[in-house]
């Protein structure tokens, strides 16, 4: 192994395993909600089997050991169909397993060794299994797959099912006899034998059929594939042997289809009965999984390296710029070019479409993030013994990949908070005349250029007075309470250090957590609104921009340089005269606007460039705001508003104060994007 680079394999393993355990988690949570794990035993078995195989291959023995123990349980469940199973306990166990595998995979991803000790979980699983066995009296019965029942003979020992296609040498003669001897040989070791042609008799018809399309045998056999192959290869005059391992129900192998797939398709086509049976099973599977997964959005995906995506973005951005350079070329000015203009319009349309598509490729549906919340709700509602009906709306809403990473944490905290503080215990709810089961709704929707994520609960709502009291105690309020709106008061709960909960629970109450919401929302330029009605619930809405990669910007010029200011932070722009300016003893300039005093920053001084003008009358002031603080930026003039593609500064330059990135303008020149928040912080 030393000389092979295992990294790509490892990456693949991590990727696949993460998907597997996510799928597993969904299946488990979903089937728990419906009717216990019973309906999805086969799926869970398949996943655990795949997991066992792949982790053993990558020699992560702790994962494979654990997967093996789980497999044991589900094997038992599937074969013996015990009547009394503590599915609740099993679900808990399974979630523990998922957590363990998840944390191990996390370690592997971070290039640490997967060193977690599975023995305690493994032991619990084994205990559970022995409990099951005790509770199930018919353990001794060697009942196997249902398929075998309708066939006599040695069906009982048929563990693996195979399909073999055998062709004989052209001039071997007496094909029927050869075929018969093969089947006879198989009867010694296998059961449930079916063959095509069905009637092997000494007729020319039969001989011809075997000669042309070979002999196809379907059988069940306890021997592993290698031995079966060896056996069949002993056949005299054997020209070609195709052995296919086609077990859909064999224990210990799941649905894994190993084996050699032959080129002999004619042989396969000759088994109408078997084919049909297969199809039937597939259909069943499909409808079954369709029914099961009906509310989990399933899509076809390919995974693409993110760097390739970024490169594609770059190239397309460049294409748009060069398109502008061609169609708006100054050399074309004044020329009457009917055909050229038509062609140029067409080009513009196509490049625009291309840009839209590339942008949409970065968009990911929220479903994964939302589905994860199922688990949080389940765990919390069991621990706190509050029945909760959790509803997800609009999970197919798409947002930029970069943004999705910042949504998960805030949601977890908000949901925890809603269940712990919001939803009342069942008795209390009944007293208030509400349904005993609490209801939490998580909704996502598009609105303009933003995505709204709304979390609603029908709990007791926020206690306005208590918030004010606690906030005053913790000195979290700067302004007089009478001036604050309800929304402003409610958003105090998002401040670090705030908690109304008297005692600290496992889930909340330490006063950390909710501030994560604000922090993460700030990172993605989002905002949080809180509405609440005492007694009937709280609604928390998060407004998030669709994408970070594209931004509405105002391009301004200072001397020969151009800068871009995010439109979102611009409040207004204004012309003033020197007389409006107030100066403090240190010559810092300020201006009074509607009773508020804002400092003036001359961009040319800050960035040390030669300005077109330093007279305030000739330039323009732009009032920008971040976190409720405003400053005025002085520039030469406004150039225009446009959507820009945000690019990072080269790493070599390290972090530059006051600049958040750069963007390419239509003429190919670079414009620096001003980081308003850091300018304001700097000024403080």
């Amino acid at each position: 192994m030393d000389f092979i680079n295992t990294e790509p394999m490892q990456e693949m393993f991590v990727f696949e395993t993460v998907q597997l355990i996510e799928e597993l988690e969904q299946i488990i949570l979903y089937s728990e909600k419906k009717n216990g794990l019973e309906s999805s035993i086969n799926d869970i078995f398949r996943i655990m089997h795949t997991l066992k195989g792949s982790s053993a291959m990558m020699s992560f023995s702790n994962i494979s050991i654990l997967a093996h123990s789980v497999e044991d349980i589900f094997y038992f469940l599937r074969e013996k169909k015990p009547k009394t199973v503590d599915y609740l306990q099993l679900t808990d166990l399974m979630l523990k397993v998922i957590d363990f595998v998840g944390s191990e995979v996390g370690k592997i991803r971070n290039k640490e060794g997967a060193d977690g000790d599975p023995s305690s979980i493994s032991q619990t699983l084994a205990d559970f299994l022995s409990q099951l066995k005790e509770g199930c009296p018919n353990t001794g019965e060697a009942g196997t797959g249902a398929v075998d029942k309708k066939h006599m003979g040695q069906a009982g020992e048929g563990h693996y099912s195979y399909k073999a296609t055998i062709t004989f040498e052209e001039d071997c003669q007496m094909e029927n006899l050869r075929a018969f001897s093969v089947i006879h040989a198989l009867q010694q070791v296998a059961g449930d034998i079916r063959h095509i042609p069905e009637d092997i008799s000494d007729t020319e018809n039969c001989n011809r059929e075997i000669r042309e399309s070979g002999l196809t045998v379907l059988f069940n056999c306890p021997l592993p594939e290698g031995e079966v192959r060896q056996l069949l290869e002993e056949t005299m005059f054997l020209k070609e042997l195709t052995l296919e391992y086609r077990s859909a129900d064999a224990p210990g192998k799941g649905r894994a289809e190993a084996g050699v797939t032959g080129a002999n398709e004619a042989g396969g086509a000759n088994i109408p009965e078997a084919e049909e049976a297969c199809k039937g099973q597939n259909c069943e599977d499909n409808t079954y999984s369709h029914d099961k997964m009906s509310n989990l959005s399933k899509q076809n995906f390919i995974s693409v390296n993110i760097q390739k995506m970024n490169k594609l973005m770059d190239v397309v951005g460049e294409l748009v710029i060069s398109e502008a350079m061609v169609t708006q070329n100054p050399e074309l000015k004044g020329l009457e070019l009917e055909g050229f203009k038509k062609a140029a319009r067409h080009l513009k349309k196509i490049t625009g479409e291309l840009q839209d598509i590339v942008m949409s490729m970065r968009m990911v549906p929220l479903s994964m993030t939302f589905q994860k919340m199922n688990r949080i709700v389940r765990d919390m509602s069991r621990k706190l013994e509050k029945e909760i009906n959790f509803e997800i709306i609009g999970e197919e809403t798409e947002v930029d990949k970069n943004i999705i990473e910042h949504i998960s944490d805030p949601l977890i905290h908000l949901i925890r908070n809603a269940i712990d503080h919001g939803i009342e215990p069942a008795e209390e709810r009944e007293l208030k005349g509400k349904e005993a089961t609490g209801k939490i709704t998580l909704e996502a929707k598009h609105s303009g250029g933003d995505v709204w994520i709304i979390l609603k609960d029908d709990g007791k709502g926020l206690d306005r007075d208590k918030i004010i009291q606690k906030a005053t105690e913790g000195r979290l309020i700067q302004r007089p309470v009478s001036e604050m709106t309800d929304r402003e008061i409610y958003s105090i709960i998002l401040l670090p250090g705030f908690s109304t909960k008297e005692e600290v629970t496992e889930f909340s109450g330490r006063g950390v957590g909710m501030d994560v919401v604000l922090k993460d929302m700030d990172k993605v330029d989002g905002s949080v609104l809180i509405d609440s009605k005492p007694g009937s619930g709280t609604t928390i809405s998060m407004k998030i921009p669709l994408t970070l990669a594209i931004m509405d910007g105002m391009t301004v010029s200072v001397g020969s340089a151009t800068y871009t200011i995010p439109i979102a932070s611009i409040r207004e722009s204004l012309n003033i005269t020197e007389d409006d300016v107030i100066k403090d003893p240190e010559n810092n300039e300020m201006i009074m606007l509607r009773g508020l005093c804002h400092p003036i920053i001359r961009l040319h001084k800050l960035f040390n460039v030669v300005p077109g003008t330093d007279r305030l009358e000739e330039g323009i002031l732009i009032l920008v705001e971040s976190e409720n603080e405003g400053i005025c930026i002085f520039v030469d003039k406004l150039i225009g508003e446009q959507q820009v593609v945000v690019k990072a500064l080269p790493q070599y330059l390290k972090k530059v104060q006051g600049i958040s990135g750069c963007t390419l303008l239509g003429d190919g020149s670079i414009s620096l994007i001003i980081d308003i928040a850091s300018l304001i912080n700097n000024k403080r």
Binding site: N608, A648, Q651, V656
Partner: protein, 167 residues
């Protein structure tokens, strides 16, 4: 097996580039840099100034959609700045996956210099500032100063401080 083949391939690749230098002039001197670092040579481009940088870092340019920083090698070597002309070139080099443009007076040619014709620079004690020069290549009667690309782009803390203090 595959890795062995790859190694071979890389050795071959390196062989064709080994001992070959791109030479350029800076005032009166000829310099050379190893060709394996060079990705392309372009004419002077409009440069966007970025605040808070040392004076030798002129800013950033748009190289076909890729934003790369450019450095004036004259200023880096504390020479007098020269006004950029049509002859001014930007040599784009790639070190450790970082692209950087070097502004030089003119680019001359690609030359081969054998190892035996490369000498170590004189000792620093003799007053020769050899910080960026890792060797001196002889070509007949001419001499090329061979640059250590890694050193040119390492941001010297001290230098940053002094240039900030001057500003």
């Amino acid at each position: 097996m595959a890795s062995v083949l790859e190694d071979n391939f890389e050795i071959q690749n390196e062989d064709t580039q080994k001992g070959r230098f791109l030479t350029f002039t800076l005032g009166g001197e000829d310099y050379g840099i190893e060709i394996k670092y060079v990705t392309e040579i372009i004419g002077i481009q409009p440069i966007t100034q970025v605040p808070e940088l040392p004076d030798y870092l002129k800013g950033i340019i748009n190289l076909r959609g890729k934003i790369i920083p450019v450095m004036d090698v004259r200023l880096r070597f504390r020479k007098e700045p020269l006004k950029y002309t049509d002859r001014t070139c930007i040599i784009v080099i790639d070190i450790n996956d970082t692209s950087i443009g070097m502004i030089v007076d003119t680019v001359s040619e690609v030359v081969s210099i054998d190892d035996e014709n490369i000498m170590l620079p004189p000792d620093a004690k003799t007053g020769f500032n050899n910080k960026y020069v890792k060797g001196i290549g002889k070509m007949g009667s001419e001499v090329k100063l061979l640059l250590d690309c890694g050193k040119i782009f390492s941001t010297d803390e001290e230098e940053m401080l002094s240039s900030l203090a001057q500003a």
